[in-house]
Amino acid sequence: MNPALTGFIFLLLIATAVSACLMKDILSSVIALSVFGVLLSIVFSILQAPDVALTQAVINSGMITSIFLVAYSQTMKVRSGEDNTRVIKTYYPFRTDEMVILFICIGLGFFLWKGIVPMGFSSLSGDAANHYINFAGVETGASNIVAAVLFDYRGFDTLGEIAVIFTTVTGISILFEGSRYHRSSSGLSFIVRRSMAFVIPLIILYASSIVLMGHLSPGGGFQGGTVLATASICFCVVYGSSFEAARIHPWIKETLESTGCLFFAGLGLIGLCTGAGFLANGAAGFPLGTQGTFISGGSIPLLNMAVGMKVGAGLSSLFYSMVKILEAPFEGIPGEVE
């Protein structure tokens, strides 16, 4: 890769971030943020991290924008033809206190640069990384070393991260407790409805292929689950909210989410029962198979499926609890806690 071209891409990335910072309008900033995510994914590809690039691409297109727009439309009631069509002055002059903060930030950047660059950058170092690269194929049977690290060597971390997502979904559900689900079926136009009936099955097919081939190619439970959640967001956006409420009951999502969690923990407990340790793979008696074929990797495909169910149902119910209309806001301003 030519260094000049790499520098060009980094300059575009920085310019997108700065314009997302300086734009006066929130919607424009959100659009710039989505372009920033696309560029970040390309930079991850240049840095030879296809797994991370795939995750960034999947999260960025669909999830982030939809969550921002839901929150924005909850706080801002649009008067048609008045609010967003006017010409917006993009940049605003700096105030005095902002100049001070700008100098503070430049100083912070200078010291970070002075601190990081002498550290240099490591070649492939560390016993853990060398062990993973040399023995992951033999010990786990998976082709994707990142999946092997994520679900075999560091499976307990992944369980903790699933718990974080569960906590977030619970918190959002509690925050939007006194709200009701508004049913409406006036979605987008007829052309979009019919075409999306062709596209959405392809999206779901691709999501399941990402989940099932997680041990062979980039991808896995996190990415596939997010694509599933994006497909479920498409239902609400394209067909209206009553379509989704009629097809997929919230109870189904709750069941899927809990089943994913229990499945993950149960697979870990099998290892504990055989005496090999929590979330053990080959030592617990899972057949490792031949490396590179579909049935390989022992428990890694099963754990991928569990994480896919969990993340898909979790992110989808996160969106649908935010899309509800707030009905009973707090009365007045809450006082200080005595």
């Binding site: 575009l12 659009i31 372009v35 939809s66 439309s73 006017r86 691709y206």
Partner: protein, 86 residues
Amino acid sequence: MILNLILLGLLIAASIAFWRLMVGPTVPDRIVAAGTLSIILTNTLVVLSLLFRNSVFLDVALVFALLAFVDILIMAKYFEHGELHK
């Protein structure tokens, strides 16, 4: 060498479209610029996978081709109805 030149051309196109994203007077202009940028950058990713001689990066490009338009659909829904749940 020729691939590098093609990459350079695509990046120049991306930066020209990025100009519209920065100055675009209304929000729909920026949305159009963002859609154009996502397609140009997907092409960039395909050319990068040729340059690295590795077909793994095509998976990422496939995700962009399938999902990048969902952003535009969500924005269109917001502009048409004012809310996402209608």
